[in-house]
């Protein structure tokens, strides 16, 4: 019951903000807020693999791309038949059905990719896993570059936007992502993920099937990356393979490292921070990478556990326990 009230209130607040936000802050800042939301989804999901489970993946942009392109092509090619199937709904309802189906398809496709990459590669550790995931991200991008039906190098430009309420949708899924991953981390599953990060041999000896749980964390993470991709595609109505280079994966890593590996609050903070800095210094273009490297070095030197520190997620839980 309390859960239902929470979601209803959240939806009402988001809808209310949606009505007013663009008017308050203008179209430019509105766009940054939406992009920050998408980055929160990506960072919080990547944090599940890199921070909580301790597996170093630098191919998150690959799952992001798969989500974006799957959803975009699903809606692009399937629009008329799905509209036919739900013709009884008003235009607005049809759009919503299409959008949600697109998100669902994107999450599924990215999840399947997660299994396909995870099963063979999670036998690898540390640097080797990082190289495989990096390779996966680049392979995905190059594949997209060479499929002409979805635009290839020109980019995919006929994506129906389906909604004018992207702030609402993006932040609804931010809430879904954060609550899902937060709940997961604070369960038996979460303890299993963390135990793998801390000591794989001990985890296995305590009955945690480490291979299975690594793949599970990988799959959940990639599904949310897929959702982020889907929202991004419909929001910008145009996709270009160059959005999904390893530089994107690298920015996502910066977000979670600066925020504090393993901390959900840290990932959110990191995502907002990096999005804002990227925008603020847009005029510097490539030099921003230099700035981020300096930022990373400074964080490593002065606050190696990240801004929030990795214990953030446990603090959450203690407060909750006291409230009960």
């Amino acid at each position: 019951m309390r859960k239902a009230i929470f979601w209803i209130v959240a939806i009402l607040i988001l809808a209310g903000l949606q009505m007013q936000l663009a008017g308050w802050i203008g179209a430019y800042y509105y766009k940054i807020v939406v992009l920050a939301g998408i980055n929160i989804i990506l960072a919080v999901s990547l944090n599940l693999i890199n921070g909580v489970t301790g597996q170093f993946s630098i191919g998150h942009a690959g799952f992001y791309a798969i989500g974006a392109y799957t959803s975009a092509s699903f809606v692009h090619f399937g629009e008329s038949s799905i509209r036919g199937a739900v013709a009884f709904l008003p235009r607005f309802g049809q759009d919503t059905v299409l959008l949600l189906l697109g998100i669902l398809v994107a999450a599924t496709a990215a999840g399947i990719a997660g299994v396909a990459v995870g099963i063979p590669s999670l036998r690898l550790r540390g640097d080797y896993l990082a190289i495989v995931t990096l390779g996966f991200g680049e392979i995905t991008r190059v594949l997209i570059l060479n499929i002409d039906a979805i635009g290839g190098a020109r980019g995919f430009s006929d994506i129906p936007p389906l909604s004018n309420f992207f702030f609402f949708w993006v932040f609804l899924f931010v809430l879904v992502t954060v609550t899902t991953i937060h709940n997961l981390v604070n369960s038996s599953y979460g303890r299993a993920f963390i135990s793998i990060r801390d000591d794989e041999i001990a985890a296995e000896a305590m009955g945690v099937d480490t291979t299975r749980f690594k793949v599970l964390s990988f799959v959940i993470s990639s599904m949310f990356a897929g959702i982020g991709g889907s929202l991004f595609g419909h929001y910008t109505a145009y996709l270009n393979p160059n959005t999904f280079t390893f530089v994107t994966s690298f920015y996502l890593i910066i977000m979670i490292v600066v925020g504090g590996l393993g901390s959900i609050g840290g990932s959110i903070l990191g995502a907002v921070l990096v999005t804002v800095i990227l925008e603020a210094f847009r005029s510097l273009s490539e030099f921003r990478l230099v700035g981020f490297s300096i930022l990373l070095v400074l964080v490593m030197l002065y606050r190696p556990q990240g801004l929030m520190g990795s214990r953030g997620m446990f603090k959450f839980r203690r407060k909750a326990a006291v409230a009960k």
Binding site: K3, T180, N183, L184, S187, S188, Y189, G190, R191, A192, I194, S195, R197, D198, D199, I201, A202, A203, E204, A205, M206, G207, V208, D209, T210, L216, G262, S310, R311, F314
Partner: protein, 253 residues
């Protein structure tokens, strides 16, 4: 036939035979000691039993089920738990969470329960918390339940490892040098603790230990290995008098 049976096990690493034709049988409820000089293959035996290594020959059975081809996590599920020679606690978790993790394989919650926090999950989490706290009380660790495991003093970390191993509800408990690094007083307390735990949880305990006082003091049956082969097997008294054991430890006269 015992609860844990090792039959003709051999494990080679390249040209080195770490364990050769080893036989071992643990009667249910026994306190069994495995000793030998450094490099005798004791830890290899542990790793064979717990599934870290697969034997090249021979078989290992737990309660009549062959376990020598299974993964460590599956063996743990069948009722085998262990501690480590070099302590392997989950360092970023609290003392309580370390024990709670060990209840993992008894969980009933599904992924769906975990994500949506159903009543089943909340009840189960409460139960796990309760069980873990009870266990910590036995080991006098309940006052430090909220501390990070890595902040505990050494002796307490050893006890926590045993508590964590017990949280998996094992039939067989393997202790790899539990008294290592402990002072005489702590060792004596540990001996009492191991006995209490065995009686209270009706366990079968296999102990690897260098501290002869501990081994001779609590084990009912001792097996001595050297260069991967059994050289003696018997009660503590018999072992102490065995000329081959004396030779292995002190060198030939």
């Amino acid at each position: 036939m015992g609860l844990l049976d090792i039959r003709d096990c051999t494990k080679k690493f390249g040209g080195l035979v770490a364990v050769r034709n080893l036989n071992m049988s643990l009667a249910p409820g026994s306190l069994y000691g495995l000793i030998g000089p450094n490099g005798a293959g004791k830890t290899t035996v542990f790793n064979l039993i717990t599934g870290v290594y697969t034997p090249d020959q021979g078989s290992i059975e737990l309660d009549g089920k062959a376990i020598h081809k299974k993964k460590p996590s599956s063996i743990a599920r069948l009722g085998m738990s262990r501690t480590f020679q070099n302590i392997r606690l989950f360092k970023s978790m609290t003392v309580l969470e370390n024990v709670k993790l060990a209840r993992h394989m008894k969980r009933k919650q599904s992924l769906f329960d975990a994500v949506t926090r159903t009543k089943l999950l909340k009840d189960e989490e409460r139960q796990i918390e309760h069980d873990a706290t009870e266990l910590l009380k036995i080991f006098h660790l309940d006052s430090r339940a909220g501390e990070l495991a890595s902040n505990l003093p050494y002796g307490a970390q050893r006890r926590l490892e045993i508590a964590r191993a017990l949280a998996t509800d094992p039939k067989v408990l393997l202790l790899d040098e539990p008294a290592a690094g402990m002072n005489p007083q702590e060792s004596i307390e540990l001996m009492g603790l191991i006995r209490t735990v065995r009686d209270r949880f009706q366990l079968t305990v296999l102990l690897v230990e260098h501290n002869m006082k501990v081994v001779m003091g609590i084990c009912e049956r001792i097996q001595v290995i050297d260069y991967g082969e059994t050289i003696a097997l018997g009660s503590p008294k018999e072992i102490q008098d065995d000329p081959r054991v004396i030779e292995a430890y002190l060198g030939g006269a």
